[in-house]
Amino acid sequence: MLQRDFEADGGLTPLPEERALDLRMQAIAAVSAVFEELELAQPTTEMKQSVAVASGSDETRSFSPRDVSFISEAIKDRGISVIDVIKALARRGFREEAENLLNVVKLRVSGDYLQTSAMIRDGKVISAVNDPNTYLGPGTGYRVTEERRQQLNAIRDVLDQKEVLRSEAMHEKEEARRIRYRSLGAALPGTAPGDIVIGISPAFGLKLFQTTAGHRLSDVLHEIMSAIRARGLTPRVVRFLHTADTSFLGLSAARLAGSGIGIGLQAKGTAVIHSKDRLPHNNLELFSNAPITQLAHYRGLGANAAAYALGEMPEPVVVPQRGEAMGSRYHARVALIYAIETGLTAEGAAPEEIEVTLTGAKP
């Protein structure tokens, strides 16, 4: 995706699904042949098939860690080397694979690939020595050729806006049974000190119906609103149409709120508590990791917004992070969700007062 969208050629060339599957099957057959030929293990048909189509390790039926440690021990004890693997491949008819492996090992003898930025292309070594960087500023250096651009564009498993909208639409009917949003016209500044505004994003409940953690937006609103009500204050929902940015949703909400406290809430679940007197982004609390934000956290956010409105200094809600690398997993979907949100914005569009009716699920 980065290659295609930013034309940052990372050297990857996408394959058609069928070719990729063929290669995978061939690789699995070759590896299995080596295991058998060297009498290390007997991979079953079920194992082989599971790894060919798996999207992750949860879907594979492979050797257990215990099996693997026995295999490793045997390799060590019997002194099995890459030469034995090359021979095993060739003996079982995988001549091309044997040649390839031998060529990889031969690279070690000359050490050409140890030079700066080296990579192997079609068996040849390219590095900063024989293919130096000629970048001298914009418009110079490596340029993607038209042919290469076509290759980069042919990426598999493309996730596009249509696909995101289609998967969201699957939740539309269900949400329609749980929540109604009715526009009451232009939203006006509140005066009551107990007035807390929840600023929702343009596509919230219109085109997008669940957070990236998979929570229904009706449930998220329910948690926030009931937590505010529990402190005797009044939540008011306003849809903003001039921005889709969480921080500005929160700040604009705060400026409309009689209490001066607003919550910004994007459909993907990113949320913020803002005060009207603070600089943009200098928020009171922020849930930046929507994929791991749970309903209880949203409830806490509502409770804390109420506490700030009552002049208290509550303990901020912490969303525990366990070092998950979420960026790459959600990058494409979130970029598309945000594009759907901003697609509904208009310069200077006035905020709308929304009457939210939580109807609950009907059987």
Binding site: V82, I83, K87, L102, V109, G111, T116, V125, V129, N130
Partner: protein, 139 residues
């Protein structure tokens, strides 16, 4: 003979001159030779000569620091793995308790393995670690 960047990549410009420890050159290492049992792991390991050739090339390409790295690597080819790992561990912050421990390792490199450049590198580290307080026990 000093090599230059025009000799790079060595495996492609002079495969018959790149030889393993037993004298087999790259063109001798074929799948048929492997199947006939004529190729051993010894033939698939880099030699000090090849590493020094890469040092020449790196230096000619304007990378003197990388060239020094290759030259130190050339000295390490025949040093036993266990000793290399021992020195490697010792060079981690907080492992060596004093400068003397690193200087001892450097002396062994120079005396037992003729690795003068590598020894000088470890000695340099010994003084740098002292300056930066890396001999302090950490765990």
């Amino acid at each position: 003979m000093t090599l230059s960047r025009s000799d790079y990549p060595l495996a492609e410009t002079q495969p018959e001159r790149i030889r393993g420890k037993r004298g087999l050159c790259l063109t001798d290492i074929t799948l048929d030779a492997v199947m006939a049992g004529d190729v051993t792991m010894e033939d698939l390991r880099i030699t000090p000569q090849a590493l020094r050739a890469q040092a020449d090339i790196a230096r000619d390409a304007g990378r003197p620091t990388l060239a020094l790295n290759f030259e130190r690597a050339a000295e390490l080819v025949d040093v036993p793995q266990d000793f290399i790992m021992q020195v490697y561990e010792l060079l981690r912050p907080g492992r060596a308790r004093s400068r003397a421990q690193l200087l001892d390792a450097a002396a062994t490199l120079r005396r037992d393995y003729g690795a003068g450049r590598m020894a000088a590198f470890v000695e340099e580290a010994a003084y740098a670690y002292e300056d930066r307080g890396l001999f302090t026990y950490r765990f």
